[in-house]
Amino acid sequence: LSSDATRKGVGAHATHLLLLGGFSALMLFVTRVVPETQGSLWTIAAIGFLLLSGTLLSELLAPLGLPHLTGYLIAGIASGPYALRLVDEHTVKSLSPVNTLALSLIALAGGAELDLETVRKGARSLGWAMFVQCVLVLVVVTGCFLVMARPLIPFTRQLAPAALVGVAMLWGALAVTRSPSATLGILSQTRANGPLATFTLAFVMVSDVVVVVLVALVLGCVRPLIDPGATFSLDSFSTLGHQMIGSVALGTTLGLVIAAYLRLVNRQMLVVLLVLGFGVSTVIEYLQFDPLLTFMVAGFIVRNLSNQGHKFTAYIEKTGTVVYVVFFATAGADLDVPLVRQLWPVALLLAGSRSLVTWGGARVAGKLAKDLPVLRRWAWSGLVSQAGLALGLSVVISREFPVIGPSFRALAIATVAVNEMIGPVLFKFALDRAGETSRVQAPTFPSMPPPPMR
């Protein structure tokens, strides 16, 4: 039976591969036969192809132990502007509403997964890990950047020593960012449950807030180093404080409204989530609050101040899967492959040093907090991924310091690309080894209820 199943599995994968090739050939043929078109309409086909190729490729890579997320990213890179060109730069830009929706779902899901009781129990681990990771990564990665700068990073060669220290500190702050989306993506696929999954999720979600504060602090400190005319100022903290308090207040209100809706109506959550993703995100943007924090707080409130948390998580998971595929595939398509090809040696060194420090930090924090062996061994694995947050902060840094901006951002893109590819693989591997990956198969057709037809 087992060899039969294997043969059947191989047959199915071969069919999927062939069909994926067929769909790609069709898309290529159409783009060649009708070379120009109204961009917005071709975006429809591009989304479809990213969705389909991401779904199929993730299934094809699953037997190799690779996470679905890697499949989505590879699908995006392959169909993107630097490979098959089925999805061009314009299309990638026009997919920003999908990204907004995905990020809101990710933050909601992240918040809704944080159980206050579990977080309280793991507070010691979390506290130590947060402190050690932030300090160690910031200091050591800053040091690594300083060491590598002159021989390996061209744009740092004309910087004065003080400015170089400032840039290195910015790099260190950037290295502290993690990827909530990648963590949620892996947890959603593996349906993992256990200390490692809980710790990683809590760490990544909380570190999101910590990083925003840390980057603001570092920006204030390094400004006089990079720009000698500037003075040390903590003005940005006033804006940041307003932003944080506003986000928490709005998130709390939103969470209570969602909990009330789930309790009283509890239907058509797909449309409600779309309204949250598009409508509320626009309101948040208008108010200049932090969308990630707002949605995370909303999810947290639903989970911990009502008994609707599990229901809410299930709804987001159902809706999110399709959105995540497009989100990560778009991230893959958006990857500047030529830039990565150009900067890969230094990006690899910087990413490697960050991973090493993260690993060391996890060992130290694990000892200090007297963590479970599974955490001491694997806690670092989920903290390697970097994605949207790091890129977003690199845009902020680039805007704040135009002299080094473009080069700094290019290096950030290349390094984040490395972490984006390696991080999810490591985290899934760790979850598998820690025995936290769910063995229960996702529901397929036979488990569906009979059609409600007359």
Binding site: E36, L52, P451
Partner: protein, 406 residues
């Protein structure tokens, strides 16, 4: 009004639509054709209050294309099935004959009127208007039958037969749309292609993509991946069709048919996709309504009147065919065919597809005719259907308290 507010409005409509589908207590609420949503769109649109401008409508074109494609996919998936049962061959034949007859009558009436009044532009434009009106006015909406059956608890062989006809009269209008779109192919194609090949390419593309999707859906997949495959292939179909300037509706309709026939999960897929139809339809109807321009062409009221007249005559004739082949229909009187007069979702979709593909007098005229036809059908169809079912003994007397559930 900016795009995000319009989007929110559409999502609210979608929300309401989903309740109309899934809530048993409110099933049967609203008009079966959904034409009131088109009226709402018209009131908000650039030709009435102007709250939704023409530029806003243009920015929502991708959303409309996706909605149209998905609705046609759902119709294709459901083609040949009434509920969970396959329709009988007799119903399929009658549904197809009825739609051909109606399309021909409507097209002839519209053509004759344009010819007499000397309007309609070039010969190609006239063919497009007459053919488009014929395609849009040929169907009987499935929703109207379900609306009456649900609201009045009708049961019996005539209700079943009419329901089956309404589920099988979409094939030829879809082919007609593919042929008409081929009359004005995209100028952008780098490959020389005779006009006659485009309809075959349209149908073939739908079947090819549907076949591919069916092969993917044959294996056991998590439900999320099933949605991924269905959405993915549908969006590829819609994007490809718009790029080739062929009929999106036809491509996705045939794709739905192919998926339904070639996969063993047809019933489950219909159960998955069915509930999405109404939530997608209502926003599409509002956007269709916003595009309606009653001054699209001189003598438009006459052309529309002729087309609707042709539809009424053809439906009465279809009723005679129905009576000849089905004994319970004979009890329903000579005008049983008028109970097939309700049109709605598909008619409006075809009208909207023409408005998008042929912006200007041609597309706008077809959309106006489709809307007016649905409105007239609204006043006549459900009433005549109720009357026919009463005469056939499948419904309590209209006005009596028994059986009527509001």
């Amino acid at each position: 009004v900016n795009a995000i507010l319009i989007l929110m409005g559409l999502l609210v409509l979608s929300y309401l639509g989903s309740f109309l589908v899934t809530g048993r207590s409110v099933r049967g609420v609203g008009l079966p054709s959904g034409v009131e949503y088109a009226a709402l769109g018209y009131v908000l649109g650039p030709h009435a209050l102007g709250l939704v401008g023409a530029d806003n409508l243009a920015s929502f074109e991708p959303v409309v294309q996706v909605a149209l494609g998905w609705l046609a996919f759902a119709v294709g998936l459901d083609f040949g099935y009434a509920g969970d049962k396959r329709v009988r061959v007799g119903s399929l034949t009658l549904g197809s004959l009825g739609s051909i007859l109606t399309a021909a009558a409507v097209a002839a009436a519209a053509w004759f009127t344009m010819d007499r009044l000397g309007v309609g532009g070039s010969a190609t434009d006239r063919v497009l208007i007459a053919g488009g009106a014929g395609a849009a006015c040929s169907e009987t909406t499935r929703h109207a039958i379900r609306w009456v059956v649900d609201r009045y608890d009708a049961k019996g062989p005539l209700a079943d037969r009419i329901n089956e006809i309404a589920h099988t009269d979409d094939l030829f209008p879809m082919i007609g749309v593919a042929v008409l779109f081929a009359l004005d192919p995209t100028r952008n194609v780098a490959l020389a292609m005779p006009l006659r090949d485009w309809p075959a390419i349209t149908v073939g593309l739908g079947l090819l993509l549907g076949g591919g999707a069916a092969m993917l859906l044959r294996s056991e997949m998590p439900i999320e991946d099933t949605w991924g495959v269905m959405f993915g292939v549908s969006l590829i179909a819609i994007g490809t069709a718009t790029r080739l300037a062929i009929s999106t509706l036809t491509v996705t309709f045939f794709m739905g048919m192919a998926v339904s026939v070639l996969t063993r999960h047809g019933a489950e897929l219909r159960a998955m996709v069915g509930p999405t139809e109404r939530p997608v339809l209502l926003p599409a109807l509002v956007l269709a309504g916003a595009r309606i321009d009653f001054h699209a062409m001189p003598a438009l009221p006459w052309i529309a009147a002729a087309a609707i007249g042709g539809r009424i005559v053809a439906k009465v004739a279809t009723g005679w065919l129905l009576a000849a082949s089905s004994p319970p229909a004979r009890k329903a009187g000579a005008f049983v065919g008028l109970s097939l007069l309700s049109s709605g979702a598909l008619a409006m979709c075809i009208g909207l597809a023409f408005a998008l593909r042929f912006p200007g007098p041609v597309g706008d005229t077809v959309l106006v005719i489709a809307t007016l036809s649905a409105t007239v059908g609204e006043f006549v169809g459900p009433l005549r259907l109720r009357r026919a079912l009463f005469l056939a003994g499948e419904l309590p007397e209209p006005g009596s308290s028994g059986g009527v559930r509001i």
